[in-house]
Amino acid sequence: MKNNIHKSMKNLATLTLDSLFLILVFSCSRTASVQVAGSTTVLPVVSKAAEQFRVKHADVNIIVNAGGSGVGINQLAERKIDLGMASRDITQIELTNYPEVDFVTHTIGRDAVVPVVSSEVFDSGVQALTLAQIGKIYLGEIRNWQEAGGPEREILVVDKEQSRGTRHVFMQVVLGDKVAAAPGADLVLGSNNEEQTAIAQSDAAIGMLSNAWINKDVRGLSIIMPDGSLVQPELANIANGSFPITRALLLISNGPPRGDVRTFIDFVLSEEGQTIVEEAGYVRLK
């Protein structure tokens, strides 16, 4: 019975596919396509690069999708896409999930994950925190900005979905475990955009964002290092590695890249591509 349904569905699918194909012949100027998906941190670079790439290679579509690093890695491994975007390393679990996949990573730039706060909090004096303080906020041990030198206001702790690259990198440094639970969290959101929106809408929020998403409503905190020095979230500090939470931005291919995939990666690594990386607010490769 199940087999039958399966078969008849499959037959129907192929039948309709075939017959409808004829109707769609008009639009079939057969362009090749490279499908990319994953991290919303890498997305601006790849999106922009895809637009410019298209100018030179009119016959190749670069189809870009968001979803987060976890989505990028999974879909690449399941061969749904040709190139994954990730803003974190591939985890051991992901490697064991897909033993047959040969993940090849290509670093295209560097970024920092910056603890950010609503501008109201920043303006009232909280402009730098220690990593331990941030950790305590996410663990729920510090619940009011007063305990961190700010106004008398409860902290709105914004967390991210667990497989997001930004969260992995942030939690690794702050709590020592990239998949650490955050019992202090109040909201769990996804993309950089969504997180930025929630923090801007609030007047008491803390969150984690890629350096490129910091603006006048969402302010980046400096980190107070154990020796008492302050490190600001600035490109120079990311480039020389003194900012404590930095990461590589990755494109991941399944095996060594070939054909259009290779051409596209080369484009992102070229002078033109690296300019896009820089314009997007990240640190280019040397």
């Binding site: 298209r54 870009v64 999708n65």
Partner: protein, 282 residues
């Protein structure tokens, strides 16, 4: 409380509820129209989107949405017609009829996200189609199936028995009766139902967001296995960056365009339904 007072309280309450209801719904419409109209201009409708949708227009999102539902309609219509004809002309056992009705109309209750998940499992993973607009069309077709079946079924049922009898008397066999007499009626009914189904399908996000759409980089898909961009998923992406004024403006613009398309389809559907109602009364 005196009876008269109760009556007055009651009538005030219904007026109040209706007023509140009207106000809320009017507010919805006003917000979308007001914000949307300011975003819409020639360039917005006919340019590709740029910079995460915060710049440029929504041309390919419109095309993508239309493509999705066009093929959904092409897949759904024959299936729905066949089902409706079988139900009304061949199926006479009341119990089987009830069962069949529950199974088909039950689809109407299936949450849209479940269709998306089913598509993800069955097409994207089991059949290995990858993220493809055509899979999206198939899923949307399944989703609107009950609406279209129901419309076609009503249309067939409204054909007077005497037509069938006279056609048989003319020597037409059963299938010829169906093709010559019932099918035209069924098709016109199904098409009005189809418009109502399309009005819903074009606005759906959850069924297609995992299986059929991409964020950018695709204009007109080159094959059946490519993804498309669509209006609802575009609005989803823009809604997440709602503090960016440009993105928000475009989100309202896209919303107004989407609602206009929905309105066109539902008006066609409602109009067809009205016509059907009057013709069946005659």
């Amino acid at each position: 409380m005196s009876r008269e007072l109760t009556n007055r309280v009651f009538s005030t309450a219904t007026w109040f509820a209706a007023g509140l209801c009207g106000l809320v719904l009017f507010f919805m419409f006003a917000i979308i129209t007001w914000n949307g109209i300011r975003a819409i201009n020639f360039e917005f409708l006919f340019a590709a989107s740029r910079n995460f949708g915060a710049a440029g227009g929504i041309f390919y999102q419109i095309i993508g949405s239309l493509l999705l539902i066009l093929f959904a309609a092409l897949i759904c219509l024959p299936l729905a017609l066949g089902t409706a004809i079988f139900k009304s002309e061949y199926l006479h056992n009341a119990r089987v009829q009830k069962l069949c009705a529950i199974l088909v109309y039950g689809l109407n209750g299936v949450p849209s996200v479940i269709f998306g998940i089913f598509g993800l499992i069955f097409f994207v993973n089991v059949l290995q189609t990858g993220v493809s607009w055509f899979v999206g069309s198939i899923i949307l077709a399944i989703m609107m199936l009950p609406t279209v079946v129901l419309a076609a079924y009503h249309a067939i049922n409204s054909v007077p028995e005497i037509y069938r009898e006279s056609a048989s008397a003319l020597g037409l066999n059963r299938w010829q009766v169906i093709v010559k007499v019932l099918l035209p009626q069924a098709t016109s009914g199904a098409i009005s139902g189809l418009f109502l189904g399309l009005a819903r399908a074009i606005g759906e996000t959850a069924p297609i967001m995992f299986i059929a759409t991409a964020f950018s980089g695709i204009d007109i898909p080159g094959s059946f296995l490519d993804p498309v961009t669509s209006l609802p998923t575009h609005i989803l992406a823009l809604a997440q960056q709602a503090v960016d004024a440009r993105a928000l403006e475009n989100a309202w613009g896209a919303s107004l365009v989407l609602i206009s398309l929905v309105t066109v389809f539902s008006t066609l559907g409602l109009w067809g339904r009205m016509k059907l109602k009057t013709s069946s009364l005659r």
